[in-house]
């Protein structure tokens, strides 16, 4: 452990296990891994720059997907047409 990490709270610039860490961060963002996720997250984001960056980029991408992706309006006749077909089956 480098000393300035503990003293100043600076993040380390290289992650010792990116693959494993990133996978964990991603599953936390996806709402999986809820156990202890707050502590793990705080630990990683406080201490590791690659984890910090990866987390925020992944989070931004999820946010824009959720909020900005174009939504199609359901054609108004679709529900009626489905109900009509169901009646025919019955």
């Amino acid at each position: 452990m480098d000393k300035n990490l503990e003293s100043s709270g600076e993040r380390k610039l290289r992650c010792s296990d990116e693959s494993k860490c990133f996978q964990l961060l991603e599953s936390i963002l996806d709402g999986e891994n809820s156990q202890d996720s707050k502590e793990i997250l705080k630990e990683k984001l406080d201490k590791c720059q690659p984890c910090f960056e990866h987390y925020h980029l992944e989070q931004a991408i999820r946010d824009v997907l959720k909020t900005k992706c174009t939504k199609q309006l359901v054609p108004s006749e679709l529900a009626d047409s489905i109900r009509q077909k169901i009646k025919e089956i019955e």
């Binding site: 359901v74 489905i82 077909k85």
Partner: protein, 197 residues
């Protein structure tokens, strides 16, 4: 999720389930259909087929359980079995081939670090949608299910009939591919990326 008949609903119960548990998802279903086919009429057909199948197999649906996941699974199967066969699209994606290809990428995890949070946030809805739409259907699907529809890994595993581990890895690869697309948008649009540093 199995198609084994479990229940014997009365006609009235069937209609109740259909109206109260199935129909409220028509919006999500139509959008899923549209994002798979990119065509309004195909999406309509797919959704209609799905609802007719759902009604036909309603006895295998347990009232009060996850109707949305159940319906999505039927839609996904209809898409694979009926639509993909009919469609003139020459591209038949081989899951295995695609996954092996991206699996073999050693720099998988670090390859898109030069995409900045700010440029992602500045992107327009159309750019995000286009980037998503340009992904192969199997990768597109996991992102739609997870990020747009909010399904859990477990639900996605059931909808797609794949193990949870495969959901996780496919999702990860899908997002990396998406980041690649977004990065090239960012560069084309002159957004700031680390490449100039």
């Amino acid at each position: 999720m199995s198609e084994v008949q479990r229940k014997k609903y009365s006609d009235q119960e069937k209609n109740e389930i259909f109206d109260q548990e199935f129909m409220p998802h028509i919006d999500s279903m139509y959008n899923f259909g549209y994002r798979l086919t990119f065509d309004e009429d195909d999406a309509k057909d797919l959704v209609q087929d799905t609802y007719l199948k759902a009604f036909r197999f309603i006895n295998s649906f347990e009232q009060g359980t996850n109707a949305k996941a159940w319906l999505f699974r039927i839609l996904k199967n209809s898409f694979i079995n009926d639509y993909r066969k009919k469609s003139k699209q020459p591209t038949k994606i081989d899951y295995q081939e695609v996954e092996t290809y991206y699996n073999s990428d050693d720099v998988d995890y670090g390859m898109t670090t030069d995409l900045r949070v700010e440029s992602v946030k500045d992107m327009l809805g159309d750019e995000i949608s286009n980037a998503l739409n340009s992904l192969a259907v199997d990768f597109r699907t996991v992102i739609i299910l997870c990020d747009l529809e909010g399904f859990t890994y477990e639900e996605m595993a059931k909808i797609l009939d794949i193990p949870i581990g495969t959901v996780r890895s496919r999702l990860h690869r899908a997002r990396n591919l998406l980041k690649e697309k977004l990065r090239s948008y960012a560069q084309n649009m002159g957004y700031d990326t680390d490449q100039e540093d």
